[in-house]
Symmetry: C2
Subunit: 353 residues, 2 copies
């Protein structure tokens, strides 16, 4: 607006400069020092009641709001945690985030999330951004991973929690889900029901942890020499699941059981089967993984493996905020998935179609 709004110091009258008030201005208005204002804002008890009131009045009058960055820079301790997830649209990740957030909120912390979309590059960027923010702790709940990451992270003196992809180290905790155990349970269960033609629906084959899951499926299924099997891979999510089921059928493979890498994809598998008039579970059984809240609302409701996301979320918070000596040596927390049987699975059909 003002063409001659120069950068010259406006001396006394600096109202016009920055739109927001500073501690300095509050102090001036309240006729006290900045130290005193700071004390009031931080609830230091060593302030006379009358002074406190005077300061608070000035704060209100100027619509003062402390500058978070200045505060941190000046030495206040952060109460911000960072969390990086692969796909926040997948309820699995979202639930963990929400659980951590709830705990954090309660304890006066904040948590900022970033989404990588299963992109290694973005993971690196996100980590750097979190470090630049000087978060008090960082949770890395992703499926992609980069060896470089460990190096960068171990340099920092920062509590880090990994999910699945990490390895314990100084200040680093890893939460590991015994995926193979879960897979084994599913396969045993399906085999016992008579299934001998199985498909695995996965996503993002290029990422090693996800690759791993596919491998686990293959490994486990080979224990049953009489089981035919096939694996397909699509994008994470219902649409990907649907595409996967489509692809499977297009290949001419007609499984009696479809094992999905997670519930989110299973939603799409279920949908595609219904579209084609294939009955679940009468003709095809479907399983997921995670036990997202939605699983029991689906029609048919989904047989899956439970992963205690709420517990994990809380654990993440505990680990990130624990006094450093508690976790300086690094540890690994192991979680066993439990089979939750619902409507989407049943005995294999008597005769092949």
């Amino acid at each position: 607006m003002d063409p001659k709004s120069s950068h010259a110091p406006t001396s006394d009258d600096d109202r016009s400069r920055s739109r927001v008030a500073t501690l300095q201005q509050v102090a001036r208005l309240a006729r006290v020092s900045t130290a005193t204002v700071s004390r009031v804002l931080n609830n230091s008890p060593r302030v006379r009641e009358e002074t406190r009131r005077r300061v608070l009045r000035a704060v209100r009058q100027l619509h003062y709001l402390p500058n978070y960055h200045a505060r941190l820079l000046a030495g206040a301790k952060t109460r911000t945690l960072g969390m990086i997830v692969s796909n926040i649209e997948n309820p699995f990740f979202l639930d963990i985030f929400c659980a951590t957030e709830a705990r954090a909120q309660q304890a006066g912390y904040e948590v900022v999330v970033e989404n990588t979309n299963y992109d290694r590059q973005r993971l690196l960027e996100s980590v750097r951004s979190m470090l630049a923010r000087r978060v008090a702790g960082l949770a890395i709940i992703v499926s992609e991973i980069d060896p470089q990451l460990f190096e960068e992270l171990s340099q920092q003196n920062l509590p880090v929690v990994f999910y699945d992809v990490g390895r314990p180290g100084p200040n680093m905790t890893n939460i590991r889900v015994r995926y193979e155990k879960g897979m084994q349970r599913v396969l045993e269960y399906l085999y016992a029901l008579g299934h001998r033609r199985m498909a695995f629906v996965g996503h993002h084959a290029s990422l090693s942890p996800l690759q791993e899951r596919r491998r686990t499926f293959l490994q486990m299924v080979r224990r049953y020499p009489d089981v035919e099997h096939v694996t397909v891979t699509q994008a994470d999510g219902p649409a990907g699941g649907r595409a996967a089921m489509n692809q499977l059928l297009a290949m001419g493979f007609r499984p009696t059981a479809v094992v999905c890498v997670n519930d989110f994809m299973a939603i799409g598998v279920l949908r595609e089967l219904r579209d084609r008039g294939i009955q679940v579970p009468e003709e095809v059984s479907v399983t997921g993984f995670d036990n997202i809240a939605l699983a029991e609302f689906l029609n048919p409701s989904l047989t899956t493996l439970n992963i205690p996301r709420r517990r994990i979320g809380h654990m993440v918070f505990e680990l990130l905020t624990a006094p450093p000596e508690h976790l300086s040596m690094g540890q690994e927390i192991v979680i066993e998935p439990e089979l939750v049987v619902r409507e989407s699975t049943g005995p294999a059909p008597q005769r092949a179609l």
Copy 2:
């Protein structure tokens, strides 16, 4: 650890102090001034190639990462946007966030979200926290609202976008969905199908914008004097929807159509009906609002009103980052929901049960 780690300047040897390197240290190692390091880090072209390399080597050697807070404090412009939502677990909000985030990411911005859980107090806290962070723009996508908010916000010279609950003003844009238009369409549609006993499933009766929706339903339905109707209220989400349907039936009211305030709740309504063996849409029709991605994956798939969340998300980004003169006067963007007919609705049953 070191009991005598005093605050005395450690002169040359300050490696032991802060764990992370500073610009200063990088400058020292590279034998240049801090200004030059800053120039290199900010890709200023006016640096000799050799100097740049020397600096970058020092950066790598020290594992240097700029301190975001110091950077901002020193005058760099923020590339962080804030978004506050009522319930991030509701795909409606999540989709808007993701759409905004995607655009932001692309343009080199970040967006930090906060979740209020429909809590007025938390909304206020979140807004303050965002202001303290000095975000470049703030999107308030919530259903609760506080008159005090407008005052606080209009004080700041900050682009703000409201969804539904705002009113245009200086630097403030409001995105308004013509809810009543949507409701009208649904009711016309259902009426034409012969429905004469309808229920409305809402949530959070205490919040005026949500109250408003219930009121809109009542208002619209009264245009049809021969339609019996009832409204119930539960928590947002599938579980709430289920409880609502349960409550409805427990009241002895047997609707032929259930109009849900959003898709998220409709999921639960569908589930409860199926549990009770009530056929959808043969015996009861169900509608949602929002057209979340899941709607078409449900069984039966959900008739709903589309709200272009992706478009809204992009719009939010545009509005928050537009040059100030473009929106200094405030505007209101109006969105018309469109009916999307799927499987969950059909003609009213011939005779009452």
